[in-house]
Symmetry: C2
Subunit: 200 residues, 2 copies
Amino acid sequence: MPALKATDFYGEVTWLGCVPDRQAALSSKPLKKAELDWGGIVGEAHGGMSRASCSRVLDQHPRGTEIRNTRQLSILSNEELAQIAATMELEGLLDPAWLGASMVISGLPDLTYLPPSARLQAPSGATLVVDMENRPCQLPAKVIDAAHPGFGKRFKAAGKGLRGVTAWVERQGGIALGDRLRLHVPDQPVWPHLAAARGL
Amino acid sequence: MPALKATDFYGEVTWLGCVPDRQAALSSKPLKKAELDWGGIVGEAHGGMSRASCSRVLDQHPRGTEIRNTRQLSILSNEELAQIAATMELEGLLDPAWLGASMVISGLPDLTYLPPSARLQAPSGATLVVDMENRPCQLPAKVIDAAHPGFGKRFKAAGKGLRGVTAWVERQGGIALGDRLRLHVPDQPVWPHLAAARGL
C-alpha cells in the first residue's frame, strides 16, 4: 500500500505569476503558463534549490543559513482571497499579484490548511509538494495601499489562516491557466501528540 | 508568527547506517557518525537530489520518472522496532541494518506518524524534513530469514504502522550517535477534509 494517496479533490489554476526581481518589487506579474524546473517557476526571483534562511525560520537557523528552498511557490485559494477581501471591506478583489503569488487555485476547500507533504499534480505530470501554511506578513500592505489607500493595514489580520501554502517542485513540467490539479495526500493518521507538541 | 514551531519533543540517535551498494545488498552498515549533504547521508546508495520513481508512487508517476528524492533517509524508532520484534516473537532485537535503515531514534513517541513536513534538527544544525510514513515491504524478509530462519515472512504484517518515516536533508551538517534531535512541527490545524480525502 503506497503512503501517498491520490484523492478525488481537484483544484483549477485560475492565476499564475512570477516575481521577476524581488528587490525591485514584491508584486508578481501574471503569466498564462509556466515552466517548473527543480528551482520552481522559471524566472521567479524566489526560486532556486536552496535559499538563505529568513526571519520566518529563526527558531531553526541563524539568518542567512543556506537551507533547501521549500518556499519556491506561494499558492493561494480564490475562495480564501475573496474571504480576505470581504473582511477588509475592499470593493472588488484582492489582486494576487499584490501578494507576490505564484499561483491561485479554485475548488480546493481550506487550501491554507492542506496537509503538509500533500502533492498537487498537473495534467503534464508536473508535481508540487506542499510544505506548509504560509503566514501573512506586513509587506503587501504598501502594495495594497497604492491601489486602495488606507486598506493595506487591514491585510495581515484579515489574511490570518487564509494566506495559502508554500510549495516546491517534485517533478518538472509545464502548468497553465485552466489546468486541473489533483490532490494527493499522505494516507496516515494524525500524530497523536500533535496538539501537545503545538502547546495547545 | 512562524509556521514551523520548535517543540519540547526530542529523540536520541541510537543507530546510524548507510547502504553502500543497493544492488549488492539491502542491508545498511552501521556508522558512528554521518555527514549529511543535499543528497542525504554521504555514501548512501539511496541518496541524491533526485531519484527514478519506483512502485511506491505509481499512482503519481510512471516508473522511472525523475522526481526529487524525498526518501534519502529511512528513520526508525527504537521503541517501534522492539514492538515489531515482539509481534514477530523474535528472540532479541530486530537489527536496523536488516531493514536498510539510515537512523534509529529513541524517545519520540509514535515516530512512524510524525507530522509530514516536521523537521528533526541535530545539535550541529543539520536538519531533516520528514516526508511521510514509510510502508513495510517484503524485501527485508530474506535478510531476516538469513539470521532467523522462518521469521522473515512475519515482518511485513508486524511492521504495519511501525516502519518509521522517510526524510531528506534541508540543511547540511554532521550527525552522530547520541545526538539529541529536536522536533519542529507545522503549527497549523489538521485539514478538515483529510478523512474524506483518504476515503475514510
